[in-house]
C-alpha cells in the first residue's frame, strides 16, 4: 500500500504539476495536492515558503471537502462556494475552494485543491498578468466593464475548466517526453543488436575455425546483452556426443569442466523434451533445476542441425538487472540461429573435404589391390611434391593441388593389364610400350573433375624428361608444366629408395647422387637444387613412418605433418 502511494506521489510531483502549481501561485492561488482519500501529498508551503494568504486551517478545509466528496468522479462539479470553516476573518470573506481532479490513465490519482479566497481581481496588475497568461486582451475586459465579473462564480467555473485542460495538456506533454525517451532507449538498444548481427554475418566465413568465430562473437555479444558470462559449448566430435568442450567464452568466472558438462546435458535434455530454450532463474518463479553457486540466472540456447543439437550458446547472470528479459532472450535466439547456420556450413565443408580426400584415397587404393607398391608410394610422392611446392612458395590452393597430383599420378595404372603391371623382372619392349600409356589413361580418368584439372596435367606429364626424351609427348624444359616436373622428381626419387619387383632399394646417398647426376637431363635443375636444400634423411624418415592405415582413420594426418 505504501509502495503504491510513493509511486503515485512521484507521478504526481512531476515537473508538469509543479509548473502548474507555480503558475497558480503567480496568479495568487495557493494550491495543495491531496490523494483521492484525502491524504495530503504536498502542501501549499512547499512552493511558496510561507503563505500568509492562507488561513492556518487550510489542511482541514481541503481535506473536509475532499472527504465530503467521497470518491471523486471526473464529472462531479467540485466547485464550492462557501468556506466550510465558516471563518469570519476578512481573508475568508470571499470564499472559494476549487478542486481539480488529476486524471492519469482514466483514474483519478490526486486532487489539486486551490483556494480562491485570495483571488482578487481588483488589482489591475494581477488581472493583466492573468489575461496575458490566458492570452486574453485585458483592455477588452476593462472596456466592457468585466472587471467585476471576473470575480464572480462564472469566471471561477471557467477558470476551473481551463485549469483542468492546462493540467491535462501539461501531463500529456510530460508523458510524451517520457515516452519519447523510453522509445529512444529502446531504439538505441535495437541499433546495438542490429550492429551485432551485422558483425556476426560479416565474420561468417565457411572455412574460418569455430574457435575464432565464436571468440569474436562472445566478445561482441557480452557488451550488448550485459551478462556476466557467455559460453559456447560444442560436442567434441560432431557426430557422436562423447564429451563437450568450451569453444569460446567471455566474462567471469571460469567454469569447471564438470559444470560445463552439466550445462550441456541440461540444454540438450530440455531441447529434446520441449524443443526450446532453457531459461531459469528464481525471479518470477522458483528454479526449474538446482544450479551451483555462481549461477543466478541462465539462458541456454541450443544450436540445431536437423534433429541434432550441435552446440549451445549460454548466457549466465544478467548484470545491472535481476534477470534476463524477453528482449535479451530474443537476441540470444537470433544470434544462436546465425551461429547454427555457420556451424552447419562449417561441418558440411569439413565433411566435403573428408569425402573428397576419402574418395581420392579409395581411388588410389583400388590400384593397391593389384600393385602393393603403388599405394604407399603415391602417398610419399604426394608428400614430396607438396614439400617442393611449399619450397617454391606456391599458393595454398596450388600446394594442395600438388598433394593431390602426387597422390593420383599413377591412377592410370588401373588401365594396365595385370600381366604387365605385376610382372617380376624386366619388361619386353611391347610390355614397356603398354606401360607408357598410364599417364594418358590417368589424365583421361581425371578429365571429368574440373576442380582438379591441374592435377590431370601433372598426371599426364609426370614421365616427361627435362631434356625432351620422356613420354608420352616428348616435351622439354619449361614446356613441361611445373606440376609435372615436380611429380617427376618426387616419383623418381621415391622409386629409387624403394624396393621394386626388379631391383632392391638404393641407399639414400646413392639415390641423391643419381638425382644430381641426372639434374638437367631427366630432372629440372632448379627443382633439384631446392630438393637438396632439405634435410633429406630426416624428411624421408618422416614420410616413411606415415602408414596408410593411419591415413584412412585420420585423413587430415597428412596435412598436419
Amino acid at each position: 500500500m505504501n509502495e503504491t502511494l510513493t509511486q503515485t506521489r512521484s507521478d504526481i510531483n512531476s515537473a508538469a504539476l509543479i509548473s502548474i502549481r507555480r503558475l497558480l501561485l503567480e496568479l495568487g492561488i495557493p494550491s495543495a495536492l491531496l490523494s483521492p482519500e484525502g491524504v495530503c501529498l504536498s502542501d501549499p508551503f512547499d512552493l511558496a515558503g510561507t503563505s500568509d494568504s492562507l488561513c492556518g486551517d487550510w489542511r482541514q478545509c481541503f481535506t473536509q471537502i475532499a472527504c465530503d466528496r467521497g470518491i471523486i468522479s471526473p464529472d462531479l462539479n467540485p466547485f464550492e462556494t462557501s468556506c466550510p470553516q465558516d471563518h469570519h476573518s476578512p481573508r475568508c470573506a470571499a470564499a472559494g475552494l476549487m478542486i481539480v481532479p488529476i486524471i492519469q490513465r482514466r483514474k483519478t490519482v490526486a486532487l489539486l485543491c486551490c483556494c480562491l479566497k485570495t483571488l482578487q481581481f481588483n488589482d489591475s496588475e494581477s488581472l493583466q498578468r492573468l489575461c496575458s497568461k490566458l492570452k486574453i486582451d485585458s483592455s477588452l475586459l476593462f472596456e466592457h466593464g468585466l472587471r467585476d465579473a471576473v470575480n464572480g462564480p462564472i469566471t471561477r467555473q471557467i477558470l476551473q475548466k481551463l485549469l483542468q485542460l492546462l493540467i491535462e495538456k501539461a501531463q500529456t506533454s510530460h508523458d510524451n517526453i517520457a515516452e519519447m525517451e523510453a522509445l529512444g532507449n529502446s531504439l538505441s538498444q535495437s541499433y546495438e543488436e542490429l550492429t551485432l548481427l551485422h558483425t556476426i554475418s560479416d565474420s561468417m566465413k565457411v572455412n574460418q575455425k569455430p574457435e575464432t568465430f565464436f571468440d569474436q562473437l562472445c566478445q561482441n555479444l557480452i557488451g550488448v546483452i550485459k551478462a556476466q558470462k557467455l559460453v559456447v559449448l560444442c560436442p567434441d566430435n560432431h557426430q557422436s556426443h562423447a564429451g563437450v568442450s568450451q569453444v569460446a567464452t567471455a566474462g567471469q568466472p571460469q567454469l569447471e569442466p564438470a559444470l560445463l558438462e552439466m550445462l550441456w546435458h541440461r540444454t540438450v535434455e530440455y531441447a529434446r523434451k520441449n524443443e526450446g530454450v532453457l531459461i531459469d532463474s528464481n525471479v518470477d518463479s522458483p528454479y526449474t533445476y538446482k544450479w551451483p553457486a555462481p549461477i543466478r540466472n541462465i539462458v541456454c540456447v541450443p544450436l540445431h542441425r536437423d534433429q541434432n543439437v550441435i552446440g549451445a550458446l549460454i548466457a549466465i547472470n544478467k548484470t545491472g538487472k535481476p534477470d534476463f528479459d524477453s528482449v535479451d532472450t530474443k537476441l540470444l535466439i537470433s544470434v544462436a540461429n546465425e551461429c547454427a547456420v555457420y556451424l552447419q556450413n562449417f561441418h558440411l565443408y569439413d565433411d566435403m573435404q573428408e569425402l573428397l580426400l576419402g574418395s581420392l584415397r579409395a581411388l588410389t587404393s583400388s590400384i593397391d589391390a593389384k600393385d602393393t607398391y603403388t599405394c604407399g608410394h603415391s602417398e610419399r610422392v604426394a608428400m614430396i611434391s607438396r614439400r617442393l611446392a611449399e619450397q617454391l612458395a606456391l599458393s595454398a590452393k596450388e600446394i594442395n593441388n600438388m598433394y593431390f597430383a602426387g597422390l593420383l599420378h599413377d591412377v592410370g595404372k588401373i588401365g594396365i593389364s595385370d600381366k604387365v603391371l605385376c610382372k617380376t623382372g624386366r619388361l619386353s619392349a611391347d610390355e614397356y610400350a603398354q606401360m607408357q600409356k598410364h599417364p594418358q589413361i590417368g589424365a583421361d580418368i581425371l578429365r571429368g573433375i574440373k576442380q582438379i584439372s591441374e592435377v590431370g596435367l601433372a598426371v599426364l606429364t609426370h614421365h616427361e624428361r627435362f631434356d625432351g626424351t620422356g613420354y608420352p609427348h616428348g616435351l622439354a624444359g619449361t614446356d613441361i608444366p611445373l606440376a609435372g616436373r615436380i611429380v617427376q622428381l618426387a616419383d623418381s626419387f621415391d622409386a629409387m629408395i624403394s624396393h621394386r619387383t626388379y631391383r632392391t632399394a638404393l641407399p639414400l646417398n646413392a639415390a641423391i647422387a643419381e638425382i644430381i647426376r641426372f639434374s638437367g637431363t631427366q630432372f629440372d635443375p632448379h627443382l633439384v637444387d631446392l630438393f637438396l636444400q632439405n634435410d633429406i634423411p630426416q624428411f624421408i624418415r618422416d614420410i616413411q613412418t606415415v602408414n596408410t592405415d593411419q591415413l584412412r582413420k585420420n585423413p587430415f594426418h597428412a596435412f598436419t605433418n
Binding site: 531504439l187 538505441s188 541499433y191 546495438e192 550492429t195
Partner: protein, 127 residues
C-alpha cells in the same frame, strides 16, 4: 553548464538524431541537432561545437561538402568530424584528412561505440 562539451549532430533521418542525442546527452554532453547540410553549416558557425557527427547523404549540402566548407572558415576549421556512411561505402584517406574527418562509421552503428568514440576524441585520445 559551460563546462559541458558541445556536439552537433546532423542527419536527415530523425530517428538517428534522436538516438544519438539521447545517448550523448546521457553521456554528459550538450547536443544540438540539424536536419540538413545547410542548417548544419549555420549551426556550426553560430554554436561552434567541439565535435560534429554528420551523415554523408543530406539535403542541400552533403556531409563531405559541409566539412570542406567548415575547413575554409577559420572559426570552424579545427572542429573534428565523425562521418556516418552507408554500409560498404568508404572514403579515401586523403579525402578524409583534407576535410578534417577523423573517422567514418557504417550505419547501422552501435550507439554505445559512438559514445565511446566521442569520449575518446573529446578527451584528446587518438582515434
Amino acid at each position: 553548464m559551460n563546462s559541458l562539451k558541445k556536439v552537433l549532430v546532423a542527419d536527415d533521418e530523425v530517428h538517428i538524431l534522436h538516438v544519438v542525442s539521447l545517448k550523448l546527452r546521457n553521456g554528459g554532453y550538450q547536443v544540438i541537432t540539424a536536419q540538413d547540410g545547410r542548417e548544419a553549416l549555420e549551426l556550426a558557425q553560430v554554436e561552434k561545437p567541439d565535435l560534429i557527427i554528420t551523415d554523408y547523404q543530406m539535403p542541400f549540402l552533403s556531409g563531405l561538402e559541409l566539412c570542406r566548407r567548415l575547413k575554409q572558415i577559420p572559426a570552424t576549421a579545427q572542429i573534428p568530424v565523425i562521418m556516418l556512411t552507408a554500409r560498404g561505402f568508404s572514403l579515401d584517406n586523403n579525402v578524409m584528412t583534407s576535410a578534417g574527418i577523423l573517422t567514418c562509421v557504417n550505419k547501422p552503428f552501435s550507439p554505445r561505440e559512438i559514445l565511446l568514440m566521442v569520449d575518446d576524441i573529446l578527451a584528446g585520445a587518438p582515434v
